[in-house]
């Protein structure tokens, strides 16, 4: 506490009323000197600090030693703000803003602007994750859970961690459930088949190509390119069984096709059968009906 005195006392000197008045007047006229600056922690004793000034982004209401432009202030009514280095870093009110401030100087890289972290005291296992939930209001729910975005592990092994980005949303009033995910390998996996009336220009689980293969080589067939094909079986000229690595969902729920390139040769093709793990195509010469090896065959299966 810094209370200045008005007089220096000497040995045997007499205290007069003038001396006392001067001393107390000094205290009354400089009340702030009784509490500022603090020389120890201050306990409010359960009372509330009121009447603070609003402050500003460059001069916050509550500041820190040696950092006068970092602290808490209020930029508007019913709004609480945080300033870092004289820049608004967060604002909580009718809308909220979170900002990495002050800005950095990057040009073509991504900054980790924020981290949402939730660890566990248990033993982590596949399925563990962290997410954000989004609430709003519906006709009968306030708040109403509208959906979530999560990052979920499919493998938590040391050095082999795999995580998926998962989107959950509500359908027909049910609780939010997975509607799709971007897997750790970058594949987008729709969560549901199309409804009876699909939304145009949309991707559904059963509207995807499930496998395709490009077979060239004519009489000596070679797999040139593929997706989800484990092998082909040569059953004779123009007869191929295409085997899939991952089966389609259900027998009969998918459709296969075969296109052929062969210059002047009048090929035609048909799909003999479609199973969950394979499909068979026949390729014939249209004019004669004789089965024949195509220079190149493009075979695919959709749906399922």
């Amino acid at each position: 506490m810094a209370i200045s005195r008005v007089k220096t006392w000497s040995n045997n000197e007499i205290l007069t009323h003038t001396d006392l008045n001067s001393e107390f007047d000094n205290i009354l006229n400089n009340a702030l000197s009784l509490v500022s600056p603090w020389t120890a922690n201050m306990a409010a004793g359960g009372f509330i600090l009121t009447g603070l000034g609003l402050g500003s982004v460059s001069n916050p209401t509550v500041q820190f030693t040696g950092d006068a432009n970092t602290g808490v202030y209020s930029s508007a009514a019913n709004t609480l703000d945080l300033a870092t280095d004289g820049v608004q870093a967060a604002s909580f009110g009718a809308s909220f803003v979170l900002r990495a401030a002050p800005e950095d100087s990057r040009t073509a890289t991504v900054d980790v602007a924020g981290i949402i972290e939730s660890t566990t005291s248990g033993a982590p296992a596949a399925g563990i994750g962290t997410g954000l939930q989004f609430n709003a209001e519906s006709a009968d729910e306030n708040p109403s859970v509208f959906g979530s975005i999560n990052f979920t592990a499919t493998d938590i092994g040391a050095g082999s961690e795999d995580t998926d980005f998962v989107v959950l949303a509500r359908t027909a009033g049910a609780a939010a459930a997975e509607i799709g995910r971007m897997t750790s390998l970058g594949a987008f996996r729709p969560g549901a088949n199309a409804p009876a009336t699909p939304v145009g220009n949309s991707l559904y689980r059963n509207s995807l190509v499930k496998a395709w293969v490009n077979v060239s080589g004519g009489a000596n067939p070679v797999i040139d390119g593929d997706f989800n094909v484990s092998s082909i079986s040569d059953g004779g000229p123009g007869i191929f069984t295409v085997n899939m690595v991952t089966a389609v969902d259900a027998d009969g729920a998918a459709v296969a096709q075969c296109d052929i390139s062969g210059g002047a040769v009048d090929f035609t093709s048909s799909v003999a059968s479609v199973g969950v793990s394979s499909f068979i195509v026949f390729i014939i010469t249209a004019s004669t009906g004789v089965s024949v090896d195509p220079p190149t065959g493009f075979m695919a299966i959709y749906g399922g």
């Binding site: 009489a219 000596n220 067939p221 070679v222 797999i223 593929d226 094909v229 484990s230 092998s231 082909i232 079986s233 040569d234 059953g235 004779g236 000229p237 069984t241 085997n243 899939m244 690595v245 199973g275 793990s277 394979s278 068979i280 014939i284 004669t288 009906g289 004789v290 090896d293």
Partner: protein, 117 residues
Amino acid sequence: MKVRVFQPPGQQVQILILNEKLRLEGESDDDFLNRIAPGEVEKCNLVGLPFADIDKAEVYALDRSKRYAWRLDGKKVKIDNAVPEPRHPKQDSVDKINAATTLDELKAALSMHIKGK
């Protein structure tokens, strides 16, 4: 590169050609076939058939025009010359045309041939 050749009873061989993308680094042909092929035979209904693993180039060096006669013989695929050439898909039409003895019969046979009946 080897393929696994299956012998269905009384029919031409089925040749399983694995996708090379599935081969592990440094994996031998035999290991590759033994690892993948058992799962494949269930997909394309070759379960229980006798088979042999043979070099692909050796198999496909055979006369493809006689593919119908390719038969598994031990550890090799051979052409069984005793196997008759399969009937041409339009042989019935050809026979009817050849059998025609009058102009009307010939016209009828040609008409059926053109219409694909």
